[in-house]
């Protein structure tokens, strides 16, 4: 590491006023990023904050709609990842983007192999690869196929390739997501060595411990805007979490006093899936909304998926009204009158080309069995009822659901599960990517369902929202339950504190 004061040296890369618009949204709004040679710069923010959009603008994968990028004193406008690579900006992704069927050396040198006449100089290539890898502290046989090595080594090979080809700026997009502690240490050793060589490294991750371990500075994004750019030494984890999650809406939130919950409906004991979520106990009562809070990757969605049987649990018991039940796949859960609205509705939820009506009816029909079709008139009636009840705005029930706006798609998904009349409703990020008006409606709906006696489990990254509808909040960190807040304890501040887990506040 170094102690360079950022303002003294000219930056290696200075991106200014970067803006990017997608139809209907502003993905990046006047964003600035200053990278100095020899620093590790963390880029932080929750999902949808604009981190990947910013990276894609820098690497030329997206064309930016505004702003200037100055690299090493000269303005650049890369039009493709290959072009930005030539300019000196290399990127390594979470999913290793190398070719597992080629050898390590072939991967390192693909496209710029040493040649002898018309043929590859294989021996020379392997020798050079060995030298390059040795400089990263790896003593491996470069003639072995890449797939023979662990993800961490593949990651270092990817970094070596990016550095060899580019050599000014290295962007690491969640490089540690699938690594264990020793492997992270190996990777950090490599990163320190590269900064000592004068590279500027951008580090994108959700693991705050790692940010504080390796980074010199951090830029925090939220909703496509810069929240702050700070020197890591001068801030605490809690400051960073607060900046990432934001809480300017606090004043707007009204907490209703709620009636005490009914009797216990479902009870989970020691439910766990190795590598996904640590064992947890959880009881949800009738007429109760349990909120799941935590940063991305803390195990929110994992908890929902495990409970619903999307992934089968390794261990643990599920009790429904005191009776043990076994839930190993979503069909089992549906049979017990569970329902799950998944986080990524485009991938896991809607069937884009089917009509809104079919999308609403599909879960109910599936539970009835395909041999017993629901009469057409009944289908129409159910669909119309929920469209009216949830105020789904559409031209016709026959239109393909993909043509609806995000908020209306989400409401149609909710309608799908409400039509099955569930006892236990799990909502994973119910307000992701929808506009403010629809947001409020969904919150009101959750409240209504609770008042009607349904048991709900809601995972969300939006603290204000959790505060608004939860009767209880479970806080997750690093795939573990680390806290529970009840009644008046539920405030954005307390949730942030529990997530950041600052011992002095405990």
């Amino acid at each position: 590491m170094n102690d360079m004061t950022p303002s003294l040296a000219a930056p290696m890369l200075h991106a200014r006023g970067i803006s990017k618009f997608f139809p209907g949204t502003i993905a990046l709004d006047d964003v600035e990023l200053v990278l100095h040679a020899g620093e590790v710069h963390a880029l932080l923010g929750e999902n949808g904050a604009g981190k990947s959009t910013l990276i894609k603008c820098l690497t030329g994968a997206y064309r930016r709609d505004g702003g200037v990028i100055i690299l090493d004193g000269a303005e650049v406008a890369p039009e493709s990842t290959a072009a930005s690579q030539k300019l000196g900006i290399g990127t390594v992704y979470q999913e290793v983007n190398l070719l597992p069927n080629l050898t390590v050396a072939e991967n390192l040198f693909l496209g710029r192999q040493p040649m002898r006449g018309p043929f590859l100089a294989r021996r020379k290539m392997n020798a050079e690869a060995r030298d390059v890898l040795a400089s990263y502290g790896l003593d491996i046989d470069p003639a072995e196929p890449l797939s023979a090595y662990s993800v961490a080594i593949q990651q270092v090979v990817a970094i070596a390739r990016a550095v060899e080809m580019s050599g000014k700026v290295l962007i690491l997009d969640e490089p540690t997501a699938s690594l264990d502690r020793d492997e992270v240490a190996l990777l950090f050793g490599v990163i320190r060595q590269l900064t000592a060589r004068g590279l500027a490294v951008v580090f994108v991750t959700h693991f705050l411990d790692q940010v504080f371990e390796i980074s010199d500075r951090a830029t925090i994004l939220r909703n496509g805007r810069i929240v702050d750019s700070c020197i890591i030494r001068d801030v605490t984890q809690r400051d960073v979490v607060t900046m990432m999650l934001g809480r300017q809406l606090e004043s707007r939130v009204e907490r209703k006093t709620v009636a005490p919950a009914g009797k216990a409906l479902v009870e989970f004991k020691g439910l766990t899936k190795r590598g996904m979520i640590e064992p947890f106990d959880l009881t949800v009562h009738e007429g109760e909304v349990v909120g799941l809070a935590g940063l991305l990757g803390s195990g929110r969605s994992e908890t929902c998926n495990l409970i619903f049987g999307v992934v089968a649990a390794d261990e643990g018991e599920t009790h429904l009204r005191g009776q043990p039940v076994s839930i190993n796949r979503p069909r089992d859960a549906v049979a017990q009158r569970f329902a799950l609205c998944p986080e990524d509705r485009k991938v896991d939820g809607i069937v884009g080309d089917l009509s809104v009506r079919d999308n609403i009816i599909i879960a109910l029909q599936a539970r009835q069995g395909w041999m017993k079709p629901i009469p057409r008139a009944k289908v129409q009636e159910i669909a119309e009822r929920y469209v009216r009840a949830l105020d789904i705005r559409l031209a016709s029930l026959d239109m393909p659901i993909r043509l609806l706006s995000g908020g209306n798609q989400q409401k149609a998904l909710l309608a799908r599960w409400l039509a099955t009349n569930p006892d236990f409703l799990i909502l994973d990020e119910p307000t992701r990517g929808i506009d403010v008006g629809a947001h409020a409606e969904i919150i009101a709906l959750i409240d209504q369902l609770r008042a009607d006696g349904m048991a709900l489990l809601v995972a969300s990254s939006e603290l204000e929202e959790l505060v608004a509808y939860s009767t209880r909040v479970i806080v997750l960190r690093d795939r573990k339950q680390v806290g529970e807040l009840n009644g008046d304890e539920i405030t954005p501040d307390n949730i942030v504190r529990a997530i950041a887990d600052e011992k002095e506040d405990a």
Partner: protein, 334 residues
């Protein structure tokens, strides 16, 4: 050094040695040089086409048009040599250029229109077969001194005649091996087969490579057609139906993964020899119906597919174990 990726090749080699030993045990005469010479001659045209098919399959694609291209080439040569006074060498050059361009056009369609190779080359198959019919629906004999000269060329060893076309096949295989394993183009073919998205991100010229692969396959099918016309002294639009499937079988028996990325051109050579050997055995036996060839090849194909699946499961299970270990290690962390 033995690596996991070499295993299918070794199994193919082992199968060939075993099959040949069995044949030699049953009919010692099959061990003669003459049988080997005939094996090369009789399988020359399909071997040449299979080299092109190996490149296509290595890249993760498929080419269904080669049987039709071979037939078209034969008819084209026969008609041109009958109706014009062009020298056969000139005709060869024309037909090679035609078939290479045809292949390149299919490659371009596959890449730029993002169409599956199966459909595009299926269209190519009908087009080429149709073109052959348009030229002539009947078998057209080829009579030309130059053809006689070429057909008369051989290299005599122990009374066995190694003919020109067998030599052309061996040279094609050598060239194929060099291109696949020793050139940037070859590396790019493997890269495409390993994953098009990653290859693109790593800067592989995907368009150029795809077009090149199908051009090579088309051109080699043209060369195969020339060899086939030397072999049969005729051009017939109904000939070589289904040869593309034999070529695919040879490639798979040769240890190349149908999903692309893994395999060797040399494996295809032994795949061809194994298939030829089965045919020869049935000829020697005399009592078996020639359809037994198909049955044995079918069984072999199935065995090789199972072998590949087994290998894949084995490596995935290993990777899965490593991953689980990692995941738990991670959960314990921080």
């Amino acid at each position: 050094m033995i690596r996991a990726t070499h295993l299918p090749l070794l199994v193919t080699l082992g199968t060939f040695v075993l099959a040949y030993a069995l044949c030699g045990y049953a009919y010692p005469a099959m061990l003669s040089t003459r049988v080997i010479a005939n094996l090369l001659t009789d399988n020359a045209f399909i071997g040449i086409a299979a080299v092109g098919m190996t490149f296509v399959i290595l890249s993760g694609g498929i080419d269904l048009s080669i049987g039709s291209i071979i037939a078209f080439t034969g008819v084209f040569l026969a008609v041109i040599l009958r109706d014009t006074s062009l020298h056969p060498l000139v005709a060869f050059a024309i037909v090679l250029a035609l078939t290479t361009c045809f292949g390149a056009a299919m490659g371009a369609t596959i890449h730029y229109l993002e169409m599956p190779p199966f459909i595009v080359t299926l269209a190519g198959m009908f087009l080429a077969r149709g073109a052959a019919y348009v030229l002539s629906t009947e078998s057209v004999p080829i009579t030309h001194e130059f053809y006689d000269t070429l057909q008369g060329l051989y290299w005599k060893v122990d009374g066995a005649r190694f003919r020109l076309i067998g030599g052309v096949m061996v040279l094609t295989f050598i060239a194929g091996i060099l291109i696949a394993h020793r050139t940037r183009f070859g590396q790019n073919v493997y890269a495409l087969g390993g994953g098009e998205q990653a290859a693109k991100l790593m800067g592989v010229p995907v368009a150029q490579t795809t077009i090149g692969i199908y051009a090579l396959s088309g051109g080699l099918a043209g060369l195969s057609g020339i060899v086939f016309s030397l072999y049969t002294s005729a051009g017939y639009s109904l000939a070589t139906v289904g040869v593309e499937l034999d070529a695919i079988a040879a490639v798979v028996i040769g240890g190349t993964l149908l999903t692309g990325g893994y395999g060797f051109v040399a494996g295809t050579f032994f795949g061809i020899l194994i298939m030829g050997l089965i045919q020869t055995y049935i000829v020697f036996d005399g009592t078996l119906s020639s359809w037994w060839t198909k049955i044995v090849i079918g069984g072999l194909l199935f065995a090789f597919i199972l072998l590949q699946k087994g290998l894949m499961w084995a490596t995935q299970a290993k990777a899965g174990q490593a991953k689980r270990k990692k995941a738990t290690g991670f959960a314990a962390h921080s």
